[in-house]
């Protein structure tokens, strides 16, 4: 066999030892490092082929040229591209070196020719036997970890790599830097001067470990690490797009804080967020958790299509799940099979299908869930929810009794002309959503299961969402009934013989028209309408002149509504029967079609709905009772839906699932994702923890673990961390603790010229690098240093002051009433986020746009940041608070003493004599102009702007 799948551990290790360092987005990834071990599939070959060949000879069958596929072992074998007997005669080598324009690959105009080193690499690989290996990220964990003595440690992996470059870790950072780093990384707040002083007195490993454990058990840890998760979840307090109305989903944010603070295992954390509603006896908390995927945007613009909105949300959920758990750009496969990664176009819709059966969609916020804040509210909510369940049940019961002689008809097709959406509901009713056209004809068409002979139709127009759209009148002008035999093209019309309704609008006495049911029979009258009885269901029953045998036939009913403007039905249900049931028992014509019990049950239900407790609520996911059929969208367009696709996961990532089991629901997907054997997900997860602490991941392309991503700088370390994470119950706290206690984490940021040369980007972790704090952590640090931080955990969003005019660039101006008192000084996590105009102080410091999942914040340096930190009213206000603290806590002290205090509060150290002198000159000048309190604020403003304050060591 010319190409073999490598199974030996030795081969894998050899491949990994020759890993490539890749330094950032601007640089080309060298195929491999000069002078490294022999090329292998993973070490260089795949990269070269991926860059030059896979676009036409890769996973995408529609793009595949000449049927040649080079990304799989089978494809390489079939293509005969490689001749092991005579490597130099291999077709692959001939093609990339040929001077014949016709034979040369990539073809002229389609890509650049391979460099000679790239050709050499392919040649060496073929000469060595052309072994193929699966992509590292999708490969399972090794079964038997190599038995090494002593047991592997995190530092061991890092040091082994450094030794290859003749380097070692830096010594431990000084106690102050180390403690500041630890606090800012774990809880997002600086340590107090006292904590630093005591750690400086006893900087032992035990003292450090005690800090690590205390911090990882704190609420503040939950808050700070929730912020990272919120970036991934594209969290905001508004709907997005142009209208960007407010929404209440902060209870989900609080759920994340608590889950992280209590170290909820990552598998549970995943399952509850993706599918908490599908767990048996789901608790309120588990349902709140599903808000993760309600952080999608809603276009509330007039003219927006509900179905388009809904599908955009499902696409977002699919892509976000791919980014967050699979570290993969599955979204690339939305329009076509992925060009580089083994995800087919159909597999994309397999993932999509898991998310395609929720009830939410369109401009409505439903479903939402009440969120009680205490036991009293809990009781109140539970009681009301119970009443609602009962009232709904009674209403459904009475409704069904009223139509017990009828079979509910929910045909395969239900559409409305001019754009409205007929959304089917569990009861078999249709609710009209989306566009509200001037005229519309609703068309229902399909088989009539359970009704062998069709002789009568019953139209129930519901008060719940009706009778007309907007709760007003409708005018049903004409009802056309037709049928045809299966496979026939022509429709046979069925004439109406009789009509009766529970209520008819008859204005003839006042000189108006008679909108009576009978007018539907001759087609001459204006049609049927119900003014003024809008708060009641209404029923129309029609008898066909002649019943027909419906088996093997398709029925079509058209409800024509072209009267006036916007007089269309808002919600209805259709029933069928062999004949009109005899008599209605009432003296008046049609008076018994809506029995009193049904009407009463409807009124009772409306009343319960009106009495919904005024408690906070949150957006949640809920599943339809019957799943939607997912179809593949040709070229990603939902207007062009093709063959049905079942829920499923990409085959290339699925090496562990039980082939017998069938995955159907979000819950199945969630369980698959966090299966202990799903190495990819655990690699992605621990890599993200590492990235959060070091600024760059072990896999620097944290959002692309695919074939074109950057390979891990320390593959053994990544495997070890991921397996250790799984073995320790997927505990976030455990893995963070392991990293935080390592020498690699604790080393200093000193940089020698040789380290800069050998490890320019710091991806070998030969030293630490200071990182600029996020806007949120900066603000929290200022509040903490000034002694005004309000530590209340959770609750609705708050509004710290922001500059005037922030909303002048958005369509609808938002009300930004700054919070008062303590609420003004809550942690930044709780600041309200409008998608169209996020809080400017945070955005300026690279807070991500909440429009899409952000897996890593960029860190830029810009003069706008300097302006914000120097001049923003928010900073000035907190500087004043610190100035007041100086005066309050150090009454009568000199400016020099107060400068020293400001340094201790903000930086945890005393100011040097030189620093005091420099700052004193400025403070004194301010004091002369504007007095003592302004001078104290001025000191604080300077300290907040120092590099040492704005950077984590």
């Amino acid at each position: 066999m010319a190409v073999q799948q490598s199974k030996s551990r030795a081969a894998c290790t050899a491949a990994r030892a020759g890993l490539v360092l890749v330094l950032g987005v601007f640089l080309a990834e060298p195929a491999r490092t000069e002078g490294e071990s022999a090329p292998s599939w993973s070490n260089g070959v795949r990269t070269v082929l991926s860059e030059h060949c896979f676009a036409c000879h890769g996973p995408d069958p529609s793009a595949r040229a000449a049927g040649v596929r080079l990304d799989t072992a089978a494809g390489l074998l079939e293509s005969d591209a490689i001749d092991l007997g005579s490597p130099e005669d291999s077709e692959l080598l001939y093609r990339v070196t040929s001077e014949d324009d016709f034979d040369h690959m990539p073809p002229p105009g389609a890509g650049r020719a391979l460099r000679s080193d790239e050709v050499d690499l392919l040649r060496q690989w073929i000469e060595a036997g052309a072994e193929w290996e699966p992509h590292w990220a999708y490969a399972p964990f090794e079964d038997e970890p190599a038995a090494t003595e002593p047991a592997p440690t995190l530092d061991g992996f890092v040091q082994a790599r450094l030794r290859q470059q003749g380097l070692d870790l830096n010594p431990r950072a000084n106690p102050r830097d180390l403690l500041r780093r630890l606090f800012l990384d774990v809880v997002g707040l600086p340590p107090s001067a006292e904590a630093i002083a005591s750690f400086e007195a006893d900087p032992s490993e035990d003292a450090y470990a005690a800090h690590v454990d205390a911090l990882l058990s704190s609420q503040e840890f939950g808050e700070h690490w929730a912020r990272h998760w919120l970036d991934l979840a594209r969290y905001a307090d508004s709907h997005g797009y142009t209208i960007d109305g407010g929404r209440s989903i902060w209870p989900w944010r609080d759920w994340v804080v608590q889950a992280i603070a209590s170290d909820m295992p990552f598998d549970q954390f995943t399952v509850e967020q993706l599918a908490g509603d599908l767990l048996p006896n789901a608790t309120r908390e588990q349902r709140i958790a599903t808000g993760f995927h309600r952080n999608t945007q809603v276009n509330q613009e007039g003219g927006a299509k509900d179905e388009e909105n809904r599908i955009n949300a499902v696409i977002d959920r699919t892509n976000t799940t791919g980014s967050v758990w699979l570290g993969s750009s599955v979204g690339c496969a939305q329009c076509h099979t992925h060009k580089f990664d083994p995800i087919t176009h159909s597999e994309y819709f397999g993932l999509f299908a898991f998310f395609n059966s929720t009830l939410d969609g369109g401009v409505s916020q439903a479903p939402t869930l009440l969120v009680p804040r205490n036991s009293e509210e809990e009781a109140q909510a539970a009681k009301w929810e119970q009443r609602l369940v009962e009232a709904k049940a009674r209403y459904l019961d009475e409704w069904n009794k009223a139509s017990e002689n009828w079979t509910v008809w929910q045909p395969e097709w239900a559409t409305g002309s001019n754009g409205p959406e007929l959304r089917p509901e569990l009861s078999g009713a249709y609710r009209l959503l989306g566009q509200n056209p001037v005229f519309s004809t609703y068309v229902l068409q399909g088989a009539t299961p359970g009704v062998a002979n069709v002789g009568a139709l019953r139209l129930e127009v519901l008060a719940d969402g009706g009778p007309g759209r907007g709760g007003k009148n409708f005018v049903l002008q004409e009802v056309r009934v037709a049928s045809r035999a299966d496979g026939e093209a022509e429709w046979t019309p069925h004439a109406l013989g009789a009509a009766r309704a529970d209520f008819e609008q008859d204005s003839s006495a006042k000189g108006g028209s008679s909108y009576v049911a009978a007018s539907l029979l001759d087609g001459e009258g204006p049609g049927w309408a119900v003014q003024p009885q809008f708060d009641s269901p209404h029923v129309l029953e029609l008898e066909l002149s002649e019943a027909f045998h419906a088996e093997g036939r398709e029925l079509r009913v058209e409800l024509v509504q072209e009267y006036g403007s916007h007089h269309t039905i808002g919600a209805f249900r259709m029933g069928l029967a062999a004949a009109l049931p005899a008599g209605d028992g009432s003296g008046q014509a049609g008076g018994g079609l809506v029995p009193k019990a049904w009407l009463d049950s409807w009124r009772a239900l409306s009343q319960v709905r009106g009495e919904r407790p005024r408690l906070p609520s949150t957006l949640v996911l809920e599943e339809r009772s019957a799943p939607r059929t997912t179809r593949r969208f040709e070229r990603g367009s939902f207007l062009d839906q093709r063959e049905p696709v079942s829920p499923g996961v990409p085959a290339a990532m699925d090496h562990f699932a039980d082939p017998e089991s069938v995955m159907r629901t979000r819950l199945d997907l969630a369980h698959w994702l966090v299966n202990p054997a799903n190495a990819l997900v655990h690699r992605v997860t621990v890599n993200r923890f590492w990235q959060q602490l070091f600024g760059v991941g072990i896999v620097p392309s944290e959002n692309d673990f695919g074939l074109r991503g950057v390979r891990p700088t320390h593959p053994d370390l990544l495997e070890w961390l991921a397996q250790d994470f799984v073995e320790h119950g997927m505990s976030r706290r455990h893995t963070l603790r392991t990293i935080l206690l390592s020498k690699t984490y604790c080393q200093s940021d000193a940089q020698s010229p040789e380290k800069v040369k050998a490890d320019p980007e710091g991806t070998l972790f030969s030293r630490r690098r200071p990182m600029r704090l996020s806007g949120e952590v900066l603000r929290d640090s200022m509040l903490e240093a000034s002694g005004v931080l309000h530590r209340k955990v959770g609750g609705g969003p708050v509004q710290p002051p922001q500059p005037e005019g922030v909303f002048s660039f958005t369509q609808s101006r938002k009300n930004w009433k700054p919070s008062e008192g303590d609420e003004r000084f809550r942690r930044s996590l709780y600041t309200r986020i409008w998608r169209s105009s996020p809080f400017p102080f945070y955005s300026t410091f690279d807070a991500p746009s909440p429009g899409f999942s952000c897996t890593r914040r960029t860190v830029s340096t810009s003069p706008l940041q300097a302006l914000a930190l120097a001049n923003d009213p928010l900073v000035v206000e907190i500087a004043q608070a610190m100035g007041e603290r100086m005066i309050r806590e150090l009454p009568g002290a000199t400016l020099a003493v107060r400068i020293d205090a400001a340094y201790r509060w903000a930086l945890g150290r005393s100011a040097t004599a030189e620093e005091v002198a420099l700052l004193l000159e400025h403070a004194q000048a301010v004091e002369q102009q504007r007095g003592e309190s302004a001078a104290c604020s001025a000191i604080a403003r300077v300290v907040f702007n120092l590099y040492e304050f704005t950077h984590r060591p």
């Binding site: 580089f340 940089q751 200071p770 746009s849 960029t858 830029s860 302006l867 000035v876």
Partner: protein, 479 residues
């Protein structure tokens, strides 16, 4: 020459990397941005710079809400004749409209009078007398086609080539590719006039996955143009200078005191950005201080007072590009004339035209007088056009139309007195010169010396471009 290289495979070179990293941002970032364009092209350092640029900067007059081409630029005899008839079914089939019922709505002629202007004889209606006066300096694009029928997604598409959030804007791509020549002003500025900001907000000029330094900087119409530009309350310029001086001195002292190298790049970079910020505090107010503009210029633009207006923004745009900004975008709101009492093709349309007509033309004339028009591209248009059908509403109005609409461009290497494309007899679809928004973007980048297929950025495993996998340069437009 060897076969054309595959843009996907071309690394962005060390040169650019250094430039972008040492330059803090679009703000004064690439002081040598102009050299970059010339030398980058000449030396082949940046593979996407494939030819000498014609447009060194762009001013985009964005008519938010979508003006009606039928009232302004597209007189159609047949449409006038068929006024009141329904749309031929052959045209209505399969089309999506936002609000109207395509099968039932009636064709709508215009009540506006048209005349042919200039040597080119381009038709412009009575509503735009000043723009009518510059038609010989302009290329009309009559067959532009969109993909999104609602305002938010369509504005995103017009700016980012994609109908949802998540892609960088055209201005951000330009700044990313070319940097800015502005010393102490933003390289990409957004100005807004009218009753409110454009639908979509920040993402319309957002950087998405590009460095945040290339995001558009919105200038506000009132108060300080940039957030936090003014000193804190009570702080005078002497105190502010003392503040900046003290921060810089303490940063150096702190580094040395803590045993760190005060010359390390991240610290040096930061000190530089603080200096720049301080400079901006004086340069930006100077920029927006229009009192120094002579009365003749203010009159040319039709400015009435110094309050926020489209005219003021046009003048500001000229001042920005004179100072080196690369990309300036002006939004003017409320062109969404469906036929509501406040949004219809009667008085509201007349008011919008009055607000933008004179200043749009004045900008072109002023740039020309200053010798700037030849290398400044001016773009005028909305996010889509309006239907040849009227809406059934209380006032005269038209629905959103993406099948064909009109934009115009001037200067920056496009033909003068030219008309690109033609629509059918009722203006429903192009019969020639159809171009979609990717084509528009490809052409804009081409005019700036950029090959739109080669200006890429890798994110989430993909090489993204402004034009996605589409876009054809409209060579007919090139002068």
């Amino acid at each position: 020459m060897k076969a054309r290289r595959n843009p996907k495979a071309i690394p962005r070179r060390e040169a650019l990397r250094q430039i972008l990293q040492t330059s803090a941002s679009g703000l004064g970032a690439l002081a040598f941005g102009d050299r970059l364009m010339q030398d980058g092209f000449a030396q082949g350092a940046l593979p996407y710079l494939t030819h000498a640029p014609k447009a060194k900067r762009v001013i985009w007059l964005f008519m938010a809400g979508a003006p009606s081409q039928f009232e302004l630029f597209e007189p159609k005899e047949t449409l006038q004749k068929l006024d009141g008839e329904t749309l031929p079914p052959s045209l209505a089939a399969g089309k999506r409209f936002a609000f109207i019922d395509g099968a039932r709505a009636k064709l709508l002629g215009t009540s506006r009078k048209f005349a042919r202007h200039g040597e080119s004889g381009a038709p412009v209606s009575e509503l735009l007398p000043h723009i009518a006066g510059i038609v010989d300096k302009v290329s009309f694009l009559r067959g532009v086609q969109g993909k999104e029928i609602n305002h938010g997604p369509a504005k995103l598409f017009m700016n980012t080539g994609f109908g949802q959030f998540g892609r960088p804007s055209c201005g951000s791509w330009s700044l990313y590719g070319l940097g800015s020549e502005a010393e102490d002003l933003p390289g990409f500025v957004v100005l807004q006039s009218g009753s409110r900001g454009p639908r979509g907000g920040g993402p319309l000029w957002g950087n998405a996955f590009l460095p945040s330094s290339v995001a558009g900087t919105p200038f506000r119409g009132k108060g300080d143009p940039v957030l936090d530009l003014g000193n804190p309350e009570g702080v005078d310029s002497a105190e502010q200078s003392g503040f900046f001086r003290t921060v810089a001195a303490l940063d150096r002292a702190g580094a040395e005191g803590q045993g760190r190298d005060a010359d390390r790049p991240d610290l040096a970079e930061r000190i530089k950005t603080y200096e720049l910020a301080h400079r901006m505090q004086s340069s930006t107010p100077d920029l927006v201080d229009l009192s120094k503009e002579p009365e003749s210029v203010r009159k040319l633009y039709g400015m009435e007072g110094d309050g926020p207006s489209f005219a003021r923004n046009c003048l500001l745009a000229r001042r920005l590009i004179e100072r080196g900004s690369r990309f300036v975008q002006l939004y003017h709101a409320d062109w969404d004339h469906h036929g509501d009492p406040n949004n219809n093709l009667g008085k509201p349309l007349e008011a919008r035209c009055r607000e933008v007509d004179q200043a749009s033309a004045a900008l072109v004339l002023d740039l020309e007088q200053r010798g700037l028009l030849e290398d400044t591209l001016v773009i005028w248009g909305g996010e889509f056009g309006r239907t040849p059908l009227g809406e059934v509403r209380n006032f005269i109005g038209r629905d959103h139309h993406i099948g064909a609409f009109t934009m115009w461009m001037a200067g920056g290497g496009v033909k003068a007195g030219y008309s690109h494309g033609e629509t059918d007899e009722i203006g429903f679809a192009p019969v020639s010169g159809a171009m979609d928004i990717h084509d528009l973007h490809a052409t804009i980048l081409h005019l700036m010396g950029i090959d739109h297929e080669r200006l890429t950025f890798r994110s989430q495993g993909r090489d993204f471009r402004l034009t996605d996998v589409h876009g054809h340069v409209q060579t007919n437009l090139l002068a």
